[in-house]
């Protein structure tokens, strides 16, 4: 799909009909309290919608409807190929409405229209399609047993699942969660981030049009205390999958422990190292990867390569090249297709990021933060102990740490409470493989920045998360329970009598 002009995108944005109500049991409905909260376009500060501010009672109703839908099997017991057909239809409906969704995502989140059009929406569609296609291709197992027995190991949908989403990739993270959860046959209750509810609500309507039965996909917008915690503590939710900050994620473990011991899958923060050794090939290409890894999506990305750990011998050269490529990351109106850095998601988040930059003693590149927009920024710190090297800033800020050798680089790379992603740049194959094995992270890339793709698992070590993985067939596992079915085939009259 070719991109439009800034004027055309603005015209589309002005013409959008924004969904504002919760989506429960197959239809839109206001919060039971009648309360609303404002959704703000972070690029303009303008209130674009008043969204239903749901609370415990709305969560209860959504869970009730999800439970009804799960128990009567309208989705969970549907033939796998029929579930596949519905999700494929949904992916086609998303494609048909791609432009509307891209613009809606941009004005709601501050993300650039370029990213929404070229990454978020197409990957969302691809993700749902991929999981849909997998539905009728995943087999159960027959375990080794004697001739007198059959031992089947089967997977069953886990039940009603609470999905709590972040604001940095509203549509894509929704797809990462509902793709495998719905494919597995679960019914879900989704809490979008309060900052970014619009496309989640719109997708639910399209899912209904695609034929997803009522009650299977419920969207309950609202705040963390009002909706997130009730989901975490709900006695009739079987599992929660959460993506967001580590602080919030840990709370779900408490909620689980204090309620029904529901399963919890956490995808949380990251302070991801990019290790560049002195023998790295093609520093210009390395710089492009580093810049992309650090600044893509305004750095509002848990897998952002936000710590550059660079060998002293190539540091100056690499930073020069990073400065060159960072110039391409211009800041501006997210609806301008030329813009690479849009607005940070909210005033509060902007203030936080700007606060980190204000603490930097050595700004190498950028450093300008104004009106919700932040330049691509590179700061140099004396050691990994700096707050800028330890805390997840979640903005376009790359922190540079100098090292003298391979072992030191790996030691510093691993010296973090997080372990989501890491990358290593070296032309030495042994170093590359030793480094990849040594780096304590869920995804390690060699000579590139990336997250793999839909076919590879995504998730973290340490305080970046646990309990399961997004993406790939492994994502299906976390939304299922294992069951053993043991069948006695013995044909012995004496045994039967006994």
């Amino acid at each position: 799909m070719s991109l439009l002009t800034q004027d055309e995108y603005r015209a589309i944005a002005a013409d959008l009909i924004l969904p504002t109500n919760a989506f429960i049991d197959g239809g839109y409905r206001p919060a039971i309290s009648g309360k609303t909260f404002s959704s703000v376009n972070p690029a303009t500060g303008e209130i674009i919608a008043d969204i239903a501010a749901c609370a415990q009672e709305d969560v209860d109703f959504a869970v009730l409807k999800a439970r009804e839908s799960f128990d009567d099997g309208r989705w969970s017991k549907l033939h796998p190929s029929e579930r596949k057909d519905v999700l494929i239809r949904l992916s086609k409906l998303l494609a048909r409405n791609a432009r509307e969704l891209a613009v809606m995502e941009s004005i709601d989140s501050g993300k650039t229209i370029f990213d929404c059009e070229t990454v978020d929406v197409p990957e969302t569609i691809h993700c749902l399609k991929w999981h849909a296609e997998a539905i009728d291709k995943i087999y159960d197992q027959v375990a080794p047993a004697s001739d007198d027995h059959i031992a089947m190991v089967v997977r069953e949908p886990i039940g009603v699942v609470g999905l709590v989403l972040p604001w940095n990739f509203p549509l894509l993270m929704l797809a990462w969660k509902i793709g495998p959860a719905l494919a597995a046959g679960c019914s879900v209750v989704v809490k979008p981030a309060a900052e970014t509810s619009l496309t989640t609500l719109r997708l639910a309507e399209l899912a209904s049009e695609a034929g997803l039965p009522k009650g299977v996909l419920n969207i309950v917008p609202g705040g963390g205390a009002d909706v997130g915690e009730p989901i975490g503590r709900h006695m009739d939710i079987d599992m929660v999958s959460f993506t967001g900050s580590t602080v919030t994620g840990k709370r779900f473990l408490t909620y689980s422990a204090e309620s029904n011991a529901k399963e919890v899958v956490l995808e949380m923060g990251g302070k991801n190292p990019a290790v560049v050794m002195d023998d790295a090939e093609n520093l210009d290409r390395v710089a492009q990867h580093i810049v992309n890894g650090a600044f893509w999506n305004m750095g509002e990305n848990c897998s952002a390569s936000s710590r550059l750990i660079v060998h002293k011998d190539v540091k100056v050269d690499l930073l020069d090249r990073i400065a060159y490529h960072a110039r391409e990351w211009n800041v501006g109106d997210p609806l301008d297709p030329e813009t690479r850095l849009g607005a940070l998601v909210s005033q509060a988040h902007f203030d936080k990021v700007a606060g980190y930059i204000a603490q930097a003693e050595n700004v190498v590149i950028g450093g300008n933060a104004k009106g919700g927009f932040v330049d691509a920024t590179v700061v140099s710190v004396p050691s990994n102990d700096s707050i800028l090297a330890r805390e997840e800033i979640f903005g376009p800020v790359l922190t540079v740490i100098e090292v003298s050798g391979f072992d030191e680089a790996i030691q510093i790379a691993n010296d973090t409470e997080y372990g989501l992603c890491a990358s290593i740049f070296t032309a030495n194959t042994k170093r590359a493989i030793r480094g990849a094995r040594s780096l304590r992270a869920g995804t390690v890339t060699v000579n590139s920045f990336g997250e793999g793709d839909i076919s590879t698992p995504f998730g973290g070590y340490k305080q970046s998360g646990f309990g399961g993985r997004d993406n790939s067939v492994h994502a299906h596992d976390q939304y299922t329970q294992l069951k053993t079915i043991w069948i006695d085939l013995a044909d012995d009259a004496d045994e039967v009598v006994a």
Binding site: N21, G27, Y28, R29, P30, G34
Partner: protein, 307 residues
């Protein structure tokens, strides 16, 4: 549930008095409005089918609504009917309602064209957009040919304005469906002979043509059931009202009967606009007898409660 507007109580779809030549009898309409407000109904509906909306132009309907709004003088809310064959007419009526300061609109399915749920919902959303006022939906499949189905109800939830529904299908399963699955839409009784059942399922309001001439008796049932939760008393009142329901619904002359009932109270209602004609002598006599018995019976029941 905290909707953007509470449709609580007895909402009277006001009759439209005409002169013999078919012109509006404004003085009589003013008298009817004053009578209803004084008797304590909780809201008025202008341009409902009981008001013979089908026999009036859009301009006439807006004029009647404006007149009604002015005469109410802010004492109780006014709901303006927007039901029409053509979407543009409904939109004009909705905009008219907004312009005159109505508190809400009544939104019915367009008659005769038999839209699908999706078409009907898009139609309703277009009308809503024109007024941006609280909406009382009006589900009356016997008149429109179209049921406001679940797909319709799910789709109109896009807008918070859809906060009430006058349910006139007569299908008790609809009462159960609305009560259980659509608690965010206040359910109102639009099927007079099921009023007790509606109240039992939590309906907070009743749109009743008969309240044009028996407001106190309709309010008595509402009070017994909704305010006092006294269903034993409610059953007695309902039982006393059922003969009236029978006359209203089974005679096929709903509006004529109500207009004659208003006339029995000494208020003018004049002629019917074509194609309808007034009641014959026998029908009038039947109504008069039913009303006499009903009033006496309900007065006794109400008096019992005060002893």
């Amino acid at each position: 549930m905290t909707p953007i507007f509470n449709f609580d109580g007895i909402y009277t779809p006001v009759v439209t008095p005409f002169n013999e030549d078919g012109a509006f009898n404004w003085d009589a309409l003013a008298d009817v409005i004053e009578y209803l407000v004084e008797k304590g109904v909780h809201g008025l509906i202008s341009g409902g089918s009981t008001g013979e909306n089908y026999a009036q132009t859009v301009e006439e309907r807006i004029a009647v609504a404006k007149f009604t709004k002015e005469r109410i003088k802010g004492r109780i809310p006014l709901v303006v009917g927007t039901g029409a064959m053509i979407t543009d007419d409904s939109i004009a009526l909705a905009q008219g309602a907004k312009d005159i300061g109505a508190e809400a609109i009544l939104l019915a399915s367009p008659a005769y064209s038999v839209p699908t749920d999706r078409e009907n919902a898009l139609n309703a959303l277009a009308i809503d957009k024109a007024a941006d006022l609280p909406i009382m939906l009006y589900n009356y499949p016997h008149r429109t040919g179209t049921m406001m189905g679940e797909d319709f109800l799910d789709r109109v939830g896009r807008s918070r304005n859809f906060c009430g529904i006058k349910e006139s299908s007569g299908d008790i399963n609809r009462v159960h469906l609305l009560a259980r699955n659509y608690p965010h839409i206040q359910m109102g009784c639009g099927m007079d002979d099921q009023a007790l059942e509606f109240f039992a399922w939590g309906a907070p309001f009743w749109v009743c043509g008969g309240s044009n001439f028996l407001p106190e008796e309709h309010i008595a049932l509402y009070k017994a059931c909704v305010i006092d939760g006294d269903y034993a008393k409610g059953r007695k009142i309902m039982s006393a009202m059922l003969p009236l329901m029978s006359v209203l619904e089974q005679g096929g002359k709903f509006i004529q009967t109500i207009k004659h009932g208003v006339a029995l109270n000494g208020l003018e209602t004049g002629a019917m606009r074509p194609p309808l004609k007034g009641l014959n002598k026998d029908d009038k006599r039947t109504l008069e007898q039913v009303v006499r018995v009903l009033k006496a019976t309900i007065a006794n029941i109400t008096a019992e409660g005060t002893k």
